[in-house]
């Protein structure tokens, strides 16, 4: 598989009055054409920043991005703003979390979609508008002609998210970055939107990076999963492998706190004790160590590296210790 996007040792740091804070700290992953990668983590784990960094959309003058982001072999970090601007909405499109606020309130849906089409193609105003209606139809908005001349606040949340997706798809992006696209929606609508995103790969040949804090979403949608904690990736694997044999204690915690709707229902849900560390007070070693029930002395001096080949985890627990420890958490 050729890599569509390859991220190596990405770091996003913020200059603050208390010094430099590394919100994303040495993240590396890659994604192939037509692949769906899920990135899972709690709020503040740096998953959104990772994705925003790809298109340089962090928009904070105090943010510094280092490392390497290669898209189809071209380095994006330090790239000219004009080149990045052409990529945005063209080859790489983005869907944001809150459809309520993601659309400009003073323009109609159709106008906002056709605006993007006209930036990246030389379609006429009329043709762009027609294409916008087509897209709205493709994402399953009922009565797309009428929806196109409506203002965002005249649509429901789910309809708006469909409009946002239609906008993102308008220029057939090779890569779609979806930042918690279902978090702000009702549960029934969530399922529909996820279904839609899965279908995109078939209809539009897009690869997708799906950010979520919900493992269930990932299980349903993604081919591969990366789990982030406090600015680092702690585990990454094929979705089936991750769910069958999670390696990292944090992943166990996440799984333990998720009710199983199918399969064996656990007697009770477990929680992860404590809170994620503040970014400026991250421990020297493994960031999860203060909350981990299996801390070893070797966890403390430096964060463990990701080890493994297909299934990687950043944990010192050896394979044979893992099963017993995991059972303590999951089968409690």
């Amino acid at each position: 598989m050729s890599h569509l996007l390859e991220i190596t040792d990405l770091a996003v740091s913020f200059r603050t009055s208390h010094g430099l804070i590394r919100a994303v700290d040495g993240v590396s992953f890659s994604i192939a054409e037509r692949e769906i990668l899920g990135i899972v983590g709690e709020s503040g784990s740096g998953k959104s920043l990772t994705v925003l960094a790809i298109l340089d959309l962090i928009g904070d003058p105090n943010a510094a991005i280092t490392g390497s982001i290669r898209f189809r072999g071209t380095e994006l970090i330090g790239q000219k703003p004009e080149t990045l601007r052409r990529l945005r909405g063209g080859a790489i499109a983005m869907i944001f979390q809150d459809p309520m606020t993601a659309l400009t309130p003073v323009f109609t849906i159709g106008a906002q979609i056709s605006e993007q089409i006209r930036i990246h193609t030389d379609l006429s105003r009329h043709a762009a508008q027609a294409r916008a209606v087509e897209l709205l139809d493709a994402v399953g908005l009922p009565d797309p002609h009428r929806a196109a001349v409506r203002y965002p606040q005249e649509l429901s949340g789910g309809q708006r998210q469909r409009a946002v997706i239609a906008m993102a798809l308008s220029c057939n992006p090779a890569l779609l970055l979806a930042d918690e696209p279902t978090t702000a929606l009702d549960v029934t609508v969530q399922a529909q939107i996820l279904e839609l995103i899965r279908k995109l790969r078939d209809d539009f040949n897009s690869a997708v990076i799906l950010i979520t804090h919900n493992l269930g979403v990932v299980a349903e949608t993604a081919d591969r999963v990366a789990v982030m904690y406090s600015g680092r990736i702690v585990e990454t694997a094929e979705t089936a492998a991750l769910f069958a044999d999670p390696h990292h204690p944090y992943t166990w915690g996440l799984l333990g706190s998720m009710p199983a709707l199918d399969g064996i229902r656990r007697p009770r849900l477990t929680t992860i004790p404590g809170l994620p560390p503040a970014l400026d007070r991250r421990p020297q070693g493994c960031a999860f160590s203060p909350r981990c029930g299996f801390v070893r002395p070797e966890c403390l001096p430096a964060p463990p590296a990701l080890t493994g080949t297909a299934h990687q985890a950043a944990c010192v627990l050896a394979g044979h210790e893992r099963a017993a420890a995991r059972n303590q958490v999951l089968a409690a």
């Binding site: 959309l57 983005m94 003073v106 930036i119 203002y151």
Partner: protein, 324 residues
């Protein structure tokens, strides 16, 4: 939309009624002195005072007095001044209205355009020296009394520098009717326009800059960037369009302050015979019927234009249509 308009018009009529009652009470029911003596003017003879009392029905109950007053101002329009004996007041107000309108409309165009440019430039270069300079200038603009700016403008354009190439085109003070000579009309109003506009340029530029900077934090701005719009397109199309709403609101509010205050003082300083100038002349002689008429008509103008602005606002910003 139709519902919004009707509701706004009903509100407008209620406000007009409230204002007319308020004016009436101020002029006829303020404790302290006999209203007839006030209306008759300084040093009026007892006969005049008695006639005023009869004409305005001052011995009858307040609601009747109010109705008589409104009839004199709006229906028969035969309210007369007792200072300039027998002069009918309302026709004078109508004669003066085009002057005020010319002054206000011209100034409004200047200040809206200039303020948008300044606000957008300051927001685009925020925290740079350009931004700081523009904001200091704006702050000075809102700190200057308009009548003093006008006096200073006269000092330079009519006095000290009148004979230099810079201001030799400035005609003598006073209004020239548009139908008489459009060029002279323009020349005679340009300095007053700028004078009147300065305050509002400062005010609006500051408000617009703040609104733009706040809008630029919104989620939809990130969406616009993610669509591949350039920073300039994001600012001018998406952010500006949303921020203009705050300026339009302000415009509705300021019309009142302007017609009642800024324009009056500007007219006085530049000798433009508008409604404000009439009020001013009446103030010097304490000609109450004249003041009452100008105040009422100016208020009507203000309230009506406020309503128009509000309705335009609803048309302008789709967000407003769903609310209320």
């Amino acid at each position: 939309m139709a519902g919004t308009i009707i509701r706004r018009l009903v509100h407008m009529i209620a406000v007009l009624f409230g204002i007319s009652v308020l004016v009436f009470l101020i002029f006829f029911a303020t404790p302290g002195a006999n209203p007839a003596a006030r209306i008759a003017g300084k040093n009026a003879s007892p006969q005049t005072v008695a006639r005023v009392e009869r004409q305005f029905g001052l011995n009858r109950p307040l609601p009747v007095q109010y109705a008589l007053m409104m009839k004199k101002i709006f229906i028969t329009r035969n309210l007369t001044s007792y200072v300039n004996l027998g002069e009918k007041v309302v026709p004078q107000v109508f004669k003066a209205a085009p002057v005020t309108l010319s002054l206000v409309a011209g100034a409004a165009i200047i200040w809206i355009v200039v303020a948008i440019v300044i606000g957008a430039v300051a927001a685009a270069f925020r925290n740079s020296w350009i931004d700081r300079l523009l904001m200091v200038l704006s702050l000075i603009g809102i700190s200057m009394p308009v009548f003093w700016v006008g006096t200073m403008a006269n000092l330079f354009t009519q006095g000290i520098w009148h004979h230099t190439w810079l201001f030799s085109w400035v005609p003598p003070l006073g209004y020239v009717d548009f139908s008489k000579s459009p060029v002279l009309w323009f020349k005679s109003l340009l300095i007053p326009w700028i004078t009147l506009a300065i305050l509002y340029i400062g005010l609006y530029a500051r408000v617009l800059r703040a609104a733009l900077i706040e809008t630029m934090q919104e989620d939809f701005i990130r969406t616009a960037r993610a669509k591949g719009l350039s920073e300039r397109q994001v600012l001018l199309r998406h952010a500006l369009r949303c921020s203009l709403v705050s300026v339009v609101t302000l415009f509705g509010l300021d019309f009142g302050v302007l017609v009642g205050g800024g324009a009056l003082l500007t007219e006085v300083v530049f000798g433009l015979q508008g409604v404000g100038y009439l009020t001013y002349q009446a103030l010097e002689t304490l000609d109450l019927p004249m003041i009452m008429a100008t105040v009422i008509y100016a208020s009507v103008f203000v309230v009506v234009s406020n309503a128009v602005v509000d309705i335009l606002y609803a048309a302008f910003d789709p967000r407003m249509r769903l609310r209320r």
